[in-house]
C-alpha cells in the first residue's frame, strides 16, 4: 500500500488526469465506456484528481446523467460525423479543448476517438501542453468494418489489416483512401505518449499495424462492483452452461444452437446439461429469431432467460457451472470473461484472439475451434466432469478491481512521463 501511495504522490501533485470516453455509461454500456468509467472511478478512489469527459450526441442529451461536477460532456451531432476518416466538425474539438483548459488538465487518456473525431485528438496533441495516452478497446482504427477484423460480406476472420485486404472488403473505395485513413489516424494519435491495451492480442495487432511497441502497455480492464462469490457447492449430475450477451450470430449464438441440436441427438449427454441464454435479441433477422425460438421450445435443456442488467450478472453467473463465450470474431478482452471469473465460473470460449488469451485452455476454462459446433459438443462433454471443473475453478485468475486498474494506469503514466523515477509497480509490457 505504501508502495502504491508513493506512486500516487509522484504523479498527483500538480497533475490532473482527464479520462475521455466516446460515450457516458448513462447513455450506453459498451465495454469501452464501462472500462473508461471504471478507470475514472478507480482513480478518484485513489484520490487522484481525475475528471471524466464523455461525448454525447445532441439527440441523447435528455438521457445523459452526469454524476458529479467532475464529469463533463462534449456534445456532437452524430449525422455530421465522418465514419470513414473519423473526423468531426470542429465544434466538438473546441468544447473538448475548453474543458481541458478550464480544468487545467495535465494528462489526457483517450479511450476512443470516435464521436470527437481524430481532428480533435490531433488538436489536443498539437497544443503540446498535455501528455496524451490512448487506450485501445477494439480494432476500429485499423478495420473499417466496425473494428471487428472480420471480412465482409463473407464474415471470415481477418488475419491482418492491409490496404489490399481492406479494399477487398470495400471495393468501392480506393487504395489511397485507406492509406489516407491510416495516415490520418497515425497523424492524430501516433505520437501519443503511450498506448494501453487490455489484451496482448490487441496490443500485438496494433504494434504490427504501426503503433510504437515501446510506448505500448497491456493493462487488463477492472470491474467496478466486485462481489464475493456465494456459489453453492455443486450437487447432482447436471451441468449448467450460461451464455451472457447480445444474442446474435456474431456472438456465436448460432454455433451454440448448432451444438444444442447435436446434443439433442446424444440422449445421455442431453440429460446431463442445461443451457441458459441471457441477453437481448434485438435487430436480428426473422430467420435467426425463428430458429432461436424453435430451438428453445423444442429442447427442454435449453432455456431463454431474457435480458439481464449489470447488477444481476454476478448472481446469474453464479448459477452457471460454465460461462460460454462462442464468439465468431476475435474479441479483445471481453468483460463477460472477467465477470465469469469474478463469479467463480470457468469459461468455455472460441480458441482465437482475446478469448484464447484470457482463457488459457485447461487452465481457467476450455477452448473449442472457432465456429465448430461439433468441437463445442466435444468440449461440453469434456467439461461435464467434477474433477476437471474443480481444477479449472482452482486456477481462475484474480479479477482486477477499479482500484487495481487505476494503479496500473498510474504506473504506466509515470513510466512514460518520468521514466527515471518510475516505480517498481510495473505494468506488463507487450513483449512480456
Amino acid at each position: 500500500m505504501s508502495e502504491n501511495t508513493e506512486i500516487i504522490e509522484n504523479l498527483v501533485p500538480g497533475e490532473k488526469i482527464a479520462i475521455v470516453s466516446h460515450s457516458h455509461p448513462s447513455i450506453s454500456k459498451g465495454g469501452a465506456e464501462i472500462a473508461a468509467y471504471t478507470l475514472y472511478r478507480g482513480l478518484r478512489g485513489l484520490g487522484v484528481d481525475a475528471i471524466f469527459i464523455a461525448a454525447c450526441d445532441h439527440a441523447n442529451r435528455g438521457k445523459l446523467v452526469l454524476d458529479s461536477s467532475r464529469e463533463h460532456a462534449v456534445f456532437y451531432r452524430g449525422e455530421d460525423y465522418d465514419h470513414f476518416y473519423h473526423l468531426a466538425p470542429a465544434d466538438a474539438q473546441r468544447q473538448l479543448l475548453k474543458i481541458l483548459e478550464d480544468e487545467d488538465v495535465t494528462v489526457v487518456n483517450f479511450h476512443h476517438f470516435i464521436h470527437f473525431g481524430l481532428n480533435a485528438l490531433r488538436a489536443v496533441r498539437q497544443r503540446a501542453r498535455w501528455n496524451c495516452f490512448f487506450t485501445l478497446h477494439e480494432f476500429l482504427a485499423m478495420c473499417q468494418h466496425h473494428g471487428q477484423m472480420v471480412t465482409r460480406p463473407a464474415q471470415i476472420l481477418c488475419e491482418k489489416a492491409t490496404h489490399n485486404s481492406c479494399l477487398a472488403c470495400y471495393p468501392e473505395k480506393l487504395y489511397t483512401q485507406f492509406q489516407l485513413r491510416k495516415e490520418t489516424i497515425l497523424a492524430s494519435i501516433g505520437d501519443f505518449d503511450g498506448f494501453i491495451s487490455p489484451s496482448h492480442f490487441l496490443a500485438r495487432r496494433f504494434v504490427e499495424w504501426g503503433l510504437s511497441a515501446e510506448r505500448m502497455s497491456v493493462i487488463e480492464n477492472g470491474l467496478v462492483n466486485q462481489q464475493g462469490t456465494a456459489r453453492a457447492i455443486r450437487s447432482g449430475d447436471s451441468w449448467t452452461f450460461g451464455f451472457f450477451g447480445q444474442i446474435n450470430p456474431f456472438k456465436g449464438v448460432d454455433v451454440l444452437l448448432d451444438a444444442v441440436e447435436r446434443i439433442a441427438a446424444i440422449p445421455q449427454l442431453a440429460r446431463r446439461v442445461r443451457f441458459k441464454i441471457h441477453g437481448n435479441i434485438i435487430g436480428q433477422s426473422p430467420e435467426f429469431v425463428a430458429r432461436f425460438e424453435k430451438a428453445v421450445s423444442r429442447h427442454p435443456f435449453l432455456t431463454y432467460s431474457g435480458p439481464y442488467n449489470n447488477a444481476s450478472v454476478h448472481r446469474l453467473m453464479e448459477q452457471c457451472d460454465y460461462v460460454l463465450v462462442p464468439s465468431r470474431w476475435w474479441e479483445n478482452s471481453p468483460v463477460v470473461i472477467q465477470e465469469a471469473y469474478a463469479a467463480g465460473s470457468p469459461v468455455i470460449c472460441s480458441d482465437v484472439g482475446g478469448m484464447a488469451e484470457k482463457v488459457p485452455h485447461g487452465v481457467s476454462g476450455l477452448n473449442f475451434a472457432l465456429g465448430d459446433a461439433a468441437d463445442l459438443v466435444r468440449i461440453i462433454d469434456m467439461a461435464c466432469d467434477q474433477k476437471r471443473w474443480d481444477g479449472l475453478r482452482s486456477r481462475l485468475p484474480k479479477v482486477l478491481t477499479a482500484r487495481d486498474m487505476a494503479l496500473r494506469y498510474i504506473d504506466f503514466f509515470e513510466q512514460r512521463l518520468n521514466p527515471e523515477t518510475a516505480a517498481a509497480f510495473t505494468a506488463t509490457g507487450v513483449g512480456a
Binding site: D82, F84, Y85, L87, P89, A90, L118, N119, R122, Q126, H163, L174, Y175, T176, Q177, Q179, L180, R181, T184, A187
Partner: protein
C-alpha cells in the same frame, strides 16, 4: 407548279467557281477579313443550301456553317463535303463543301414573316455570307418554301392520286386568286354568304376552316383572305347538311391553301370567294381555334353525311407527309399505332429515339418528329428495326406484325433549346402516307452525357463509327458550353496569389482534404489565399462549413465558389480568379491532395515573381507517377493567370470530365515538374461517351 420551281434562287453554278482567284477576290462575305473564302452554289427548298467555304490560312481546319434568322439559329452543319474542284485548285487536302438540308425550310416556314433577316455565317467567325440577293427575309424564304411545298405535295408526298389532283386544282385556283386580290374588296353585309365558326392552322401553309355558307358556291374555288393584308389562295370544301341552317345553306369543312396564318388577334377576317363580286365569308363572333383532335373529330363526325366535296382527296391530304395533324390515322382510314419509348434531345443536332410502330397494311420507312417549331427527320442509314414481341396484343393477330415493330433512329434537324416542348411523331410509310402520333412528354429528355452514356452506347454500340458522330460530338460540346453557368461566389477574399482546390465529390473525402490542409498549415506557413471550388450539390453546405472552420481555426484567407458542374472548373478558372484579383495560382483538381512535397512547392511558387508554368506530378499509392489516371497534366499545375487564360482560349475543344492532361503537356514542352507532389483519393470517372466525344473533338481539331 412550274412557276414555283422558277422561283428557286438561281445562283452561279459550282462549275463557274474553279477560278479560285476570282473567288478569293469576290464579295461572298460581308467582310473580306477573317481569311475565309467560299461560294454559295444553290439555294432550293428541295435540295437545301449548298456551297463551299474554307479558311485559306488553315484549309484543313474544321468549320461549321450556320443559317440564322436574325439571332435565331435555324441550322448548323459541318463543312465536310468533298469538293474536287476546290481541292484541284488549292492542291491541299480539304473538304470545303457544305449542305444545309431542305429540312431547314421546315423551320423557316414556322417563323413569323417579319422575323429578322436571314444570314449564313461560319460558326465562331464574324464573317457573314451576303444573302441579300437571295432571300433577305423570312417572308421571302417562306414564299420560296410554299411554292416548293405545293409542288412537292402534288408530286411526291400525297397519299393518293385523288389528293394530288386536288392540290393541282387548288394551285391553279390559287393563281386565279392573285387577280382577285388586286380588286377593291369590301365586306358589304348583303354580300356575306357564310360564316367561319372555327379554324385549325396546321402550320404547313394550309388552313382548315369549319362553318357554313351558301350551297351554290360550290366545293372548290379561289379566294382571298383579308386580315389587314390580302392573301390569295384556294379552298376545297366538304358540304354536309345542318339542321340549323336554311335549305339553301350547308355546313362546310374546308381545306384552304394560303400563306395566311391566323394569329391570336385574328377575329375580324373575311374570305372573298368570288372572282367578280365581293361575296364573302366572315369570321363568326366567338371564332374558335380548333385543336387537331377537334378538327379530326369534326371530319370524322361528317364522314358519312357529306353531300358534296372531295372527301377522299382531303383524307389523302391528311395522310400525306406534309400533314402534322395528330391522330390522323383513323380519319384517313389507316389502322396504325405508334409511340416513342425514349427521346433524347440534343440541341443543334436532333434526337435519338426508340419506339414502336404497328400498321398491318403499311410498312414504315422513316420517322419524323415535330417538336416545337422544329422538324427532325430520320435517315435510312441510321434507322433500324427490331422485334417487339411485347406488342403482340396491340392488334388482333398482332403477333404477325411485331417482327419489325420496334425501331430506333437518329432524327436530324436544327433543334434549339427553345423548341423543346410538345412533340409529335410521324411514321412515314413506304406508300408515302403517314400517321401522326402524340409523344408522351415523359419519355423526352434533354441529352445528358453522364446519364445517357451507357444506354446510348447500348443502343448504338459502335456510336463512334456512325457517320453522324462528328456532328454529334460538336453538338455535345456546343451544348455543354451553352449550358455552362457562371460560377457563384459564396465567399470572396481578394488576393494576388492563390492555391485553388476543387473539392472532392464525396463529403467524406472533403473532410479528409481539410484535415490534411490543417496538418499542412500547422507544420508550415499558409499560402496568401486558398480558393475552394465546390459543386452545387448536396455537399454544398458541408463545403461551406469546412471552409469557415478552416478560416476560423487557422486564420486562412479563403474564398469559396460554387459551380453547377465542377468539371468546368478549369474552363471557368479565369472568371473565378479574375474576380478575386489573383495573378498567380496553383491548381489542384478534384480528388487530388497535395503531398508535403507538393505543398511546399506550391507555397514557394506562389511567392515567385517570374512565373513559368509548373507541373505538379500526381503519384500512385506507391509514390510512383500515376500511370493509371495520369501523372502529369492539367489536373495539378501552377501558372500565371493571364498566360493560362491565353492558353485556354487557344486550347482545343474538350468536354467536361475529359482529361486535358495529354494536350496540356503537348502544348508546353520542357515544362518544369515537381515530382511526387499530389495523390488521388477520388477518381472522377468519365462516361465512355464523353471519352469518345472528346477523342472525336481532338481528332477534328487536329485534322
Amino acid at each position: 407548279m412550274k412557276k414555283a420551281m422558277r422561283k428557286t434562287a438561281d445562283l452561279p453554278s459550282s462549275s463557274s467557281t474553279p477560278d479560285i482567284g476570282t473567288v478569293l477576290t469576290g464579295d461572298i462575305f460581308d467582310r473580306p477579313s477573317a481569311g475565309l473564302f467560299g461560294h454559295l452554289d444553290s439555294v432550293t427548298p428541295q435540295a437545301g443550301i449548298e456551297g463551299w467555304v474554307l479558311d485559306c490560312a488553315a484549309p484543313e481546319a474544321a468549320l461549321e456553317v450556320e443559317l440564322l434568322a436574325g439571332d435565331r439559329l435555324i441550322a448548323r452543319v459541318p463543312v465536310d463535303r468533298r469538293r474536287e474542284d476546290i481541292v484541284d485548285i488549292l492542291r491541299a487536302p480539304c473538304t470545303p463543301g457544305f449542305l444545309i438540308g431542305p429540312e431547314a425550310f421546315d423551320t423557316i416556314r414556322t417563323l413569323d414573316d417579319n422575323f429578322a433577316p436571314m444570314m449564313l455565317r461560319v460558326a465562331g467567325r464574324p464573317a457573314v455570307f451576303d444573302l441579300s440577293g437571295l432571300f433577305p427575309t423570312v417572308g421571302a424564304c417562306k414564299r420560296l418554301w410554299v411554292d416548293q411545298r405545293l409542288a412537292r405535295l402534288s408530286r411526291e408526298d400525297v397519299a393518293s392520286a385523288e389528293a394530288a389532283g386536288l392540290l393541282d386544282r387548288l394551285e391553279a385556283l390559287s393563281e386565279r386568286a392573285g387577280a382577285m386580290a388586286e380588286r377593291p374588296l369590301f365586306p358589304l353585309a348583303d354580300l356575306k354568304v357564310g360564316r367561319i365558326e372555327a379554324f385549325h392552322s396546321s402550320g404547313a401553309g394550309a388552313l382548315w376552316v369549319v362553318g357554313w355558307m351558301r350551297r351554290d358556291l360550290g366545293a372548290e374555288f379561289p379566294l382571298v383572305v383579308v386580315d389587314k393584308r390580302r392573301f390569295p389562295g384556294a379552298t376545297a370544301m366538304l358540304h354536309y347538311e345542318r339542321a340549323d341552317l336554311p335549305s339553301d345553306h350547308v355546313g362546310v369543312i374546308g381545306f384552304v391553301l394560303t400563306h395566311w396564318k391566323p394569329s391570336a388577334g385574328s377575329g375580324d377576317f373575311h374570305l372573298y370567294v368570288d372572282e367578280r363580286t365581293n361575296l364573302h365569308l366572315s369570321a363568326a363572333p366567338g371564332l374558335r381555334a380548333l385543336s387537331a383532335e377537334e378538327l379530326l373529330g369534326q371530319l370524322e363526325s361528317v364522314r358519312n353525311v357529306v353531300s358534296g366535296g372531295a372527301m377522299g382527296a382531303l383524307r389523302g391530304l391528311l395522310a400525306s407527309d406534309g400533314n402534322w395533324l395528330p391522330n390522323n390515322a383513323r380519319a384517313v382510314g389507316i389502322a396504325a399505332e405508334a409511340a416513342l419509348d425514349k427521346v433524347v434531345l440534343l440541341p443543334g443536332f436532333g434526337a435519338f429515339v426508340e419506339g414502336w410502330a404497328i400498321c398491318p397494311t403499311r410498312r414504315p420507312r422513316g420517322f419524323a418528329l415535330k417538336i416545337g417549331d422544329c422538324i427532325l427527320r430520320s435517315e435510312a442509314q441510321t434507322t433500324y428495326f427490331r422485334e417487339r414481341p411485347d406488342l403482340a396484343s396491340v392488334f388482333p393477330d398482332g403477333g404477325l406484325y411485331v417482327a419489325r415493330a420496334g425501331f430506333g433512329a437518329v432524327l436530324h434537324g436544327p433543334l434549339t433549346t427553345a423548341d423543346i416542348g410538345t412533340a409529335l411523331l410521324k411514321v412515314i410509310y413506304t406508300e408515302g402516307t403517314s400517321s401522326v402520333h402524340p409523344v408522351d412528354g415523359r419519355v423526352m429528355r434533354r441529352f445528358n452525357a453522364d446519364e445517357d452514356s451507357a444506354p446510348m452506347l447500348q443502343q448504338w454500340p459502335a456510336l463512334e463509327h456512325e457517320g453522324f458522330f462528328p456532328a454529334f460530338a460538336r453538338a455535345v460540346h456546343r451544348d455543354w458550353l451553352g449550358e455552362l453557368q457562371p460560377p457563384s461566389p459564396v465567399v470572396i477574399q481578394p488576393a494576388r496569389a492563390a492555391l485553388v482546390i476543387v473539392l472532392p465529390q464525396s463529403a467524406s473525402n472533403m473532410r479528409a482534404l481539410f484535415e490534411t490542409l490543417s496538418r499542412h498549415l500547422f507544420e508550415t506557413e499558409a499560402p496568401e489565399s486558398i480558393v475552394f471550388i465546390a459543386a452545387r450539390r448536396e455537399t454544398r453546405s458541408e463545403s461551406l462549413r469546412l471552409v469557415n472552420e478552416l478560416t476560423r481555426e487557422r486564420g486562412v484567407k479563403a474564398s469559396l465558389y460554387l459551380l453547377d458542374d465542377e468539371r468546368a472548373a478549369l474552363t471557368l478558372l479565369p472568371a473565378i480568379l479574375g474576380q478575386i484579383g489573383v495573378e498567380t495560382f496553383v491548381y489542384v483538381d478534384q480528388g487530388l491532395l497535395l503531398t508535403s512535397r507538393g505543398w511546399v512547392a506550391a507555397l514557394a511558387y506562389l511567392k515567385l515573381e517570374v512565373r513559368a508554368p509548373l507541373l505538379l506530378e500526381v503519384v500512385d499509392q506507391h509514390g510512383e507517377p500515376d500511370r493509371v489516371t495520369g501523372a502529369r497534366g492539367a489536373s495539378c499545375f501552377a501558372w500565371d493567370l493571364s498566360d493560362f487564360s491565353r492558353w485556354l482560349e487557344t486550347a482545343e475543344a474538350y468536354v467536361p470530365g475529359a482529361p486535358l492532361d495529354a494536350r496540356f503537356c503537348q502544348t508546353m514542352p520542357g515544362i518544369s515538374v515537381v515530382e511526387n507532389a499530389a495523390r488521388r483519393i477520388e477518381i472522377r470517372r468519365s462516361p465512355r461517351l464523353i471519352e469518345l466525344v472528346d477523342a472525336a473533338l481532338h481528332r477534328q481539331g487536329g485534322e
